[in-house]
């Protein structure tokens, strides 16, 4: 049988193949880098909210506990955004004529809704539960950062699956006594990892890494 020879016209493929071999890895690296850019995964995403509510003022300066407004965080999957009624608990007495509070007063009076923009958004096929984390000693700060220093809230953490799994595989450095979950700037004396390990042992914290833990 005669030896098979590629026809002449296939010669022109050579340069394309070479280009692909050289360019392919570059393309993949570029894609990878683009995909993990903070802008792509939205780190620092800070939309303009209808009311410029300042966590720095309310939490940082005035010392409100997170749960004063986010009341459902220990009972529900959602740390629900407070209704206008919560704002008016204080603002019927304080800064009653502030211009920036006008939308809140209007919503409260008209029983209408305020349309806040969602900052921390995981895909809909991810079922995150706040209560499961907060009652087990994962501080708010671990995912949301120093809320007490944010004039307007921005996304602090990556919120990617790898980031979730980092903690689920090794929770110790992220744990604290459950009564201190809302403390900002938590910095215990001694080895943080060792303390976390004790808390995990005491509270039998053994985070699952099954698909169905988050995907249902």
């Amino acid at each position: 049988m005669a030896r098979f020879e590629f026809p002449q016209w296939t010669e022109s493929f050579k340069k394309w193949v070479l280009l692909l071999m050289a360019g392919g890895p570059v393309y993949l690296v570029a894609l990878w880098a683009y995909g993990l850019r903070p802008e792509t995964i939205r780190i620092g995403y800070q939309p303009k909210q209808p009311v410029p509510y300042s966590h720095a003022l309310h939490v940082g300066e005035l010392g409100l506990d997170c749960r004063y407004c986010h009341t459902t965080v220990e009972k529900s999957a959602h740390a629900a955004i407070p209704p206008a009624q919560f704002c008016m608990n204080c603002h019927t007495a304080i800064r009653t004529d502030s211009a920036v509070l006008q939308p809140v007063r209007e919503a409260f009076a008209a029983d209408a809704t305020l349309k806040w923009k969602r900052v921390h958004d995981v895909p809909d096929y991810v079922f995150f539960n706040h209560s499961a984390h907060v009652t087990r000693g994962v501080g708010c700060e671990e995912c949301h950062g120093r809320i007490d220093r944010m004039e307007e809230v921005y996304q602090y953490a990556r919120l990617t699956m790898g980031w979730c799994l980092d903690c689920h595989r090794d929770p110790a450095p992220h744990l604290r006594p459950p009564e201190l979950v809302t403390q900002m700037g938590y910095d215990p004396p001694g080895d943080r990892r060792e303390l976390g390990r004790q808390i995990a042992a005491n509270n039998r914290i053994n985070p699952p890494t099954n698909c169905s833990t988050c995907h249902r």
Binding site: K75, A80, P83, T113, L114, K117, S212, R216
Partner: protein, 1044 residues
């Protein structure tokens, strides 16, 4: 058809799925397995593999498909908002209601009415929208479990085709109308009618609502000349009339199956369409447990024309024409030594029937006091009277009680509508208010309802859909769903049950109470107040202690019912009565074409037609026929052969001068010479699912009301059937995955290993083992591994389960095949509906199916059943072949599906020996493309705890992992262990007989762990060493020794 001859013996013990199996087996026997076989058989088998043209070539079917998507379609935001760059909003209320925690579902008790009976329910609402309906476990009558209709009623709430506006018709013109203009109209009408109200009529569907009854009393007092009519196409009036014959007044028989040893059901679907089916199923199943039942198992006999799920569950069944039930009962009474009529000639019964009669009579006598006879609603009145007399002969005081009929003096529904239509035709009716129902569609065909309606000056129709009747009336009013309105009802035993709205009417509908009160000038009184006033008046007469005031009202609303409010049981004495003489055909075993019997049955999909637009119900395969999206004329294999009509052939049925065409379904076990016609399909104005002429959407199935007359509305004789030669394609799920002949034969050989059955006598012998079965290969792992050592080594990676180990048992002794679990699963897990075409292409999406097998003689087979869901194998074949790691094992042993990883190779499906995986071939959220703002309401239906899947994604049963996770989180938050029974799956909640048990196998005290170690437990295909987490409990039958 010779291979189907019962005498031929070959098929005597064979288990088969449908007649096509038998044909294929017989052919391969005859031709030798190497032969390709009969071209007809090959063509039959091959037709199930769709080609490209079928899939993509037909634009019309695609359009129809889009229209059908009236139901479960993907949440519009679900797929897209996964995209990070989309701006999303959080919109909190300005005032949060007290006790409301966003994202935590709440449960409310409420009530649903269906055809003159009611169910006490619990509704799960997620942020204010109902997403699941279940039986109220605390309710003394409904209890835990539900029916398919109850489960599917949720879909109707979000049906975009439900009526949205008041309509006013003048001739063929539509005039603008609103509720306000209707209220004005009523004020004018009431003034015009004056005190007498002459010419004012109400036609109501049967309702048990005490508030409607109170308003009706006020209404008839206010308008002296008015009359109230009631009509239901499927009514139990024959039972009322029969008890009136037997006892002198209308009574309701209530069977008490808990203590019954011998139960004989005559044309009675006790476990299916009976208004008490939930309680009866529960009580029946309690007497079917061979392990936990000191008194021994009960024995169920069924004599019936069309297969019902009661007949499918029984120990002995005799297929018999419905008209022959009466001579059969007369003969039975004579055998029991009753003092009634003289024994009739036995000419109508063959040797088999006579033997059945003798054995049954002997068994009944032997179990006097613990035996009971029940007769189905469609049998004539004197048969009911006869049954009452037989029960008194049997001293069935403990197995049957009677309560007074709540409205014993009214005429029968048929008489009532005949009277009303006659009055309408002679012009005596000027104003007709129709509360619910759809009489233009479902009134007897001989009356001419539509023509009569044209003679009524003002006709007002209140209904959920603008349907056939609405179009013929001058006014149509949109009706509020039961989850949108205040109401009350009495369950079949009389328990006072309250209904509360879960949400405001989505489409501005109002309830019957809301409309009635307009006529009484009470338009400003809130309906809640009316319901409460009735409750307080009724509660005063109850021995329940504190009955009035806010506390009692709130208590009753919370519970959903009033304790100890059921009707008092009575033991009325039998009075002498005479039976109507037997007709000519009632003493003949064989009748000719032209004297055939037609039996009108309720429809397991649409009930009487009212659920025709409910895609969940339309698509759920009927348990016995495995038919979806259709109804058919069921005839027996032998009759089909005799009369020369074929399966899936269009035939013409003539009955009493009326003709209709309908597809023939050759149904094994159907009584010879009897045709069963299910009512409730062929709707012309149901909606875009069930049929809507005005938008070019063809009807689903055939309108059998066309041949139903007021003279013989349930059992008619004198019918003829003639084949037309035209073929019609049914979408049957039973023919799916047919193999070529060798495969079919292998299936037949293995079926007894898959669905295990045993007689109780053999089972009770010492040393009995479910694996020591002649059919079963001797492999130790066929049973659930009792110890770790017993488990075989595997080639797959072994897993350790130190924490939870979720498992399930499915008791085949208790499953009746009622289909409630399938729809419960659909509602819980956002399972889409795919339409008739796609079902035909094997693409149904149900995560849970109930396999049905026939056994033995095609003209009188037994039935075996097996609910199949993902078996959650510990050594899962599916996991090994996924190239992208989309299906992975969890450390609790679940086969997790990560939908967002799935790329749709379908390898897992091919490697699954149980065939439980489902693939989204198409996008079921196409409605976005048809740009119909009306469709938006559907997105409210979805369970937010479960991902809505898109095209190209594999899915399957997850053991309701969302429920597992949520209970785990709750328990962990509270720092407590999970209790046994705390996690339930949706199918388990829906099961009225408790056939499904779920729990942690590692918890040695759990119910499921104990059941899996029981003597009946076996794993399906255990020889593959997949180690399924679901174990079946073999079905134990209790046959009479003489009938075998």
């Amino acid at each position: 058809m010779s291979s189907l001859n019962p005498k031929d013996g070959k098929n005597g013990d064979t288990t088969w799925r449908g007649l096509s199996d038998l044909v294929a087996q017989a052919k391969s026997e005859a031709d030798g397995v190497e032969d390709a076989g009969d071209p007809a058989v090959t063509a039959y088998l091959e037709q199930r593999v769709p080609d490209h043209d079928e899939l993509f070539g037909d634009p019309l079917s695609r359009r129809r498909f889009i229209q059908i998507m009236g139901a479960s379609i993907a949440l519009s935001s679900a797929g897209l908002s996964a995209c990070r760059w989309e701006e999303d909003h959080i919109v909190p209320e300005s005032h949060r209601p007290e006790g409301y925690i966003p994202g935590v579902p709440k449960r409310y008790a409420t009530a649903m009415e269906l055809g003159g009976t009611a169910y006490g329910l619990v509704v799960t609402a997620y942020d204010g929208r109902p997403i699941k309906v279940d039986g109220n476990a605390d309710h003394p009558h409904t209890g835990r479990g539900s029916t398919a209709f109850v489960q599917a009623s949720l879909l109707e709430l979000y049906d975009p085709d439900r009526s949205r506006a008041v309509e006013r018709h003048e001739g063929t013109n539509s005039l603008p109308a609103t509720w306000t203009s209707f209220e004005e109209e009523i004020r004018g009408l009431v003034k015009k009618l004056g005190q007498s109200g002459e010419g004012l009529r109400v036609l109501s569907e049967a309702t048990t609502s005490p508030t409607v009854a109170a308003l009706r009393r006020d209404f008839l007092a206010r308008f002296a000349g008015a009359r109230w009519h009631e009509y239901e196409p499927l009514s139990r009036d024959n039972e009322r009339a029969g008890t009136r014959m037997a006892f002198g007044r209308a009574m309701r028989p209530h069977l008490n199956l808990v203590g019954a040893k011998v139960i004989a059901a005559f044309d009675a679907d006790l476990l299916g369409d009976h208004p008490e089916s939930l309680r009866l199923s529960r009580d029946f199943a309690a007497g079917r447990d061979p392990d936990d039942n000191a008194a021994g198992m009960n024995r169920l006999y069924a004599v019936e024309s069309a297969f019902s799920i009661t007949g499918a569950t029984c120990d002995h069944r005799l297929p018999l024409r419905s008209e022959l039930i009466k001579p059969f009962l007369i003969a039975l009474e004579a055998k029991l030594g009753g003092t009634g009529a003289a024994a009739p000639s036995m000419a109508a019964f063959d040797a088999k029937a006579q033997k059945f009669l003798n054995v049954l009579a002997g068994d009944l006598v032997q179990n006097r006091g613990r035996a009971v006879v029940a007769v189905g609603a469609r049998q004539p009145a004197d048969v009911h009277a006869l049954a009452a007399r037989i029960n008194s002969v049997l001293a069935s005081d403990s197995t049957i009680t009677y309560t007074a009929d709540p409205d014993g003096d009214r005429p029968t529904h048929t008489e009532d509508i005949v009277q009303l239509v006659a009055d309408m035709q002679r012009g005596a009716v000027s104003t007709l208010l129709i509360l619910g129902g759809n009489p233009v569609y479902d009134a007897p065909a001989d009356l001419g309802m539509a023509a009569a309606l044209a003679k009524v000056a003002t006709s007002i129709h209140l209904s959920s859909y603008s349907d056939e009747t609405s179009a013929a009336c001058t006014w149509h009013l949109p009706r509020a769903h039961y989850l949108e309105s205040w109401g009350d009802a009495r369950t079949f035993d009389g328990t006072y049950t309250l209904g509360q709205p879960i949400l405001e009417p989505i489409f501005g509908g109002r309830s019957a109470i809301d409309v009635m009160k307009l006529f009484l000038g009470k338009g400003d009184v809130p309906t809640e107040q009316l319901v409460r006033e009735t409750f307080e008046a009724a509660a005063k007469e109850l021995p329940t202690g504190q009955t009035t005031g806010d506390t009692a009202w709130r208590r009753a609303l919370h519970d959903g019912y009033v304790a100890r409010s059921a009707a008092q049981g009575e033991k009325p004495a039998i009075q002498p009565f005479t039976l109507a003489p037997l007709g000519a055909t009632q003493s003949k075993a064989r009748v000719s074409n032209g004297s055939l019997e037609v039996v009108f049955t309720s429809n397991t999909a649409t009930f009487d037609g009212r659920f025709a637009n409910n895609a969940w119900l339309q698509e759920v395969p009927d348990f016995l026929t495995k038919m979806t999206w259709d109804n058919a004329a069921l005839i027996s294999p032998r009759t089909a052969a005799d009369l020369g009509v074929a399966h899936e052939e269009i035939a013409e049925i003539s009955l009493g001068g009326r003709k209709m065409q309908i597809v023939v379904y050759v149904m094994p076990g159907q009584a010879p010479l009897s045709i069963a016609l299910a009512l409730g399909q062929g709707r012309k104005r149901a909606g875009r699912v069930g049929g809507l002429d005005s938008e070019g959407v063809g009807s689903v199935g055939f309108d059998t009301y066309q041949v139903r007359s007021s003279k013989a509305p349930f059992i008619a004789t004198g019918a003829s059937i003639d084949g037309t030669g035209k073929k019609y394609r049914l979408s049957l799920t039973v023919d799916h995955y047919n193999l070529e002949e060798r495969g079919q034969q292998a299936i037949a050989e293995r079926l007894p290993d898959l669905v295990k059955e045993e007689d109780v006598e053999a089972y009770k012998k010492p040393g009995y083992s479910i694996v020591a079965d002649a059919h079963t290969p001797e492999i130790a792992t066929l049973t659930v591994p009792r110890t770790a050592d017993e488990a075989n080594e595997s080639l797959y990676k072994e897993h350790r389960y130190d924490g939870h180990r979720w498992g399930m048992t499915t008791d085949l002794s208790k499953c009746t095949g009622c289909n409630a679990c399938i729809i419960a699963c659909q509602a819980e897990n956002n399972v889409p509906v795919v339409g008739k075409e796609q079902v035909w292409r094997n693409r149904e999406m149900h995560w849970l199916r109930i396999d049905r097998y026939f056994k033995g003689d095609p003209d009188d087979p037994q039935i075996a059943r097996q609910p199949i869901l993902c078996q959650q194998c510990e050594n899962a074949p599916c996991e090994q072949v996924c190239p992208v790691g989309a299906t992975l094992h969890s450390d609790e042993g679940l086969n997790d599906m990560a939908y967002n990883r799935c790329v749709g190779t379908r390898y897992c499906l091919n490697n699954c020996p149980y065939r439980v995986r489902r693939f989204n071939f198409l996008r079921w959220d196409w409605y976005k493309e048809i740009d119909d703002p009306r469709a938006k309401v559907r997105s409210l239906l979805f369970n937010p705890e479960v991902t809505v899947r898109s095209r190209g994604v594999m899915e399957k049963c997850t053991f309701c992992v969302q429920r597992i996770q949520n209970v785990k989180i709750q328990a962990k938050n509270a720092g407590r262990p999970i209790e046994d029974g705390e996690i339930t799956t949706a199918c388990q909640d829906a099961c009225p007989t408790g056939a499904i048990v779920f729990g942690d196998i590692n918890d040695k005290r759990s119910k499921v762990a104990a059941l899996r170690l029981g003597p009946r437990a076996y794993n399906m295909l255990a020889e593959l060493n997949t180690r399924p987490r679901n174990a079946f409990l073999a079905r134990i039958r209790n046959p009479h020794p003489e009938l075998g």
